[in-house]
């Protein structure tokens, strides 16, 4: 294994182990999602959702839950000197970006594993749209992981870091949300899943993921300079 790959695996494993042991972010994100679903039920005065309304409620909730996790992503690095460790190690510093983004991706997928079935249970007539939804979830999570890691790494070294992430991240993920809801809307339609422009939206998501992964990977080095 090259040093970069070893470092990547090590950082990722450490992060996952730490999360499994302390269970700080994941339960909070999941609980937040479920509570938010309840709030939407009463806020919209609806017991059944379909189409664009369902897509909107689902993605808005997932996004805000993701922000909770993103806020905490680099806290351990900041407190325990992880940034210094990576600066001293003779490897490409962008490995930290890749590893943290991978960890965030896993958290988001884990969150969705819990939140999406519950959403379906609460609001949807049929779960038929959930299988193709998986593709949308994975692609959207990739984009969210890339941008979330980038913004989080900048916010963690600033004042008011809890405010900075939602403030800067939310406009940045608007195109992602447009594509994700665009793809999800027909999937959750009343008559059964539709695939209206499904491929196009997936391509937009893929493009977003590609661009921001590259940007994040390219600039991360400059973020770690002291």
């Amino acid at each position: 294994m090259t040093p970069s790959r070893t470092a990547f695996a090590a950082i990722l494993a450490k992060d996952l182990r730490s999360e499994l042991r302390t269970l700080q972010s994941l339960p909070a994100m999941a609980l937040f999602s479920v509570t938010t679903f309840v709030i939407f039920r009463f806020g919209l005065d609806r017991t059944q959702l379909s189409g664009s309304l369902a897509a909107g409620v689902l993605w808005a909730t997932l996004l805000f839950a993701a922000v909770l996790g993103i806020n905490r992503l680099f806290v351990a690095e900041r407190e325990e000197g992880g940034f210094d460790a990576i600066r001293l190690a003779p490897i490409d510093r962008s490995v930290l970006f890749a590893a943290k983004a991978a960890a965030l991706l896993i958290y988001l997928l884990a969150l969705e594993l819990v939140a999406v079935p519950i959403f379906s249970f609460f609001f949807l007539d049929s779960a038929a749209g959930l299988v193709p939804l998986l593709a949308v979830l994975v692609l959207a999570d990739l984009g969210l992981a890339a941008t979330g890691t980038l913004i989080s790494s900048m916010a963690v070294n600033s004042r008011a870091r809890d405010l900075l992430v939602p403030l800067v991240l939310l406009p940045l993920v608007v195109p992602l949300m447009i594509a994700a809801t665009g793809a999800t809307d027909p999937l959750l339609a009343v008559g059964g899943p539709g695939y209206d422009r499904f491929g196009t939206w997936l391509m937009v998501l893929g493009l977003y993921d590609l661009i921001f992964s590259l940007v994040g990977y390219a600039v991360f080095d400059f973020l770690l300079e002291d």
Binding site: A155, R161, L163, L164, L167, P171, P175, A179, F222
Partner: protein
């Protein structure tokens, strides 16, 4: 020397603006559909194009800053983005006036370009609190450059996504000024675009010159060991 060339530049700007205004009101033919309201577009669209290009330019300066480490590029990037945000306010206000005149509402979600622009504007509006939140000036400059590059990559993606989100039930009722413009209108439009672009460049240069002058004053102050008055601005990078 930032002030060099500022005078010919501003003279050119004044000339172009005067010419453009004259052309808009005395030469450009009246639009068949929109009537007199269409004249807003000679102002609104050049402002929008200039602002967007300005944001991208800010991103390019940011790349230069990260690559060379020279802080002057950060100042260029900041001023470019700052000026484009100000132009962005003008875009949104003139866009709202046009919307009210055309549709009766101050804002419409049906016009994808305007909506895209709003989102871009919101993105860049976070540039200021973002800079403010980072205390160390050197780190602030670096992070701001990262922001400018990320946001620059975001702009085209955003326009694409919003345009795609337009439901096929509501076709775009107003194409951009470039679509199917008769020759005279195109000429007037290009003049206005040149005028607004020149205005942007002039104001950016003006701002940089003012910053540079402040920087020289600080330098003089340091050289004379004179006491410094209040603290410097926390977010606006300095030029010396």
């Amino acid at each position: 020397m930032y002030g060099k060339g500022l005078r010919p530049l501003s003279i050119a700007t004044v000339a172009m603006v005067a010419l453009s205004l004259s052309l808009v009101f005395f030469y450009a033919p009246l639009d068949a559909d929109q009537g007199f309201i269409q004249k807003i577009f000679y102002l609104h669209v050049p402002l929008a194009i200039t602002a967007l290009v300005g944001f991208i330019v800010g991103g390019v300066f940011a790349i230069a800053h990260l690559r060379t480490g020279n802080r002057k590029w950060d100042a260029y990037s900041y001023v470019s983005i700052h000026m484009s945000v100000i132009f962005g306010v003008a875009v949104l206000v003139t866009g709202a006036i046009w919307a009210k005149a055309s549709w009766g509402h101050w804002w419409v979600w049906d016009e994808p370009t305007l909506v895209s622009f709003l989102i871009v504007f919101l993105m860049y509006a976070t540039y200021y609190p973002f800079r403010y939140a980072i205390e160390d000036p050197e780190r602030q400059a670096r992070y701001a450059s990262v922001f400018a590059i990320t946001a620059g990559a975001f702009v085209p993606l955003n326009f694409m996504a919003v345009r795609m989100a337009q439901s096929l039930v509501h076709p775009r009722t107003f194409g951009t000024a470039n679509g199917g413009l008769p020759g005279e209108m195109m000429l007037v439009f290009l003049c206005c675009l040149t005028a607004i672009a020149l205005l942007w460049v002039t104001l950016v240069k003006f701002e940089l010159t003012a910053k540079s002058a402040s920087g020289q004053v600080k330098r003089l102050r340091r050289a004379l060991d004179a006491p410094t008055p209040g603290a410097a601005s926390r977010i606006a990078p300095e030029v010396s």
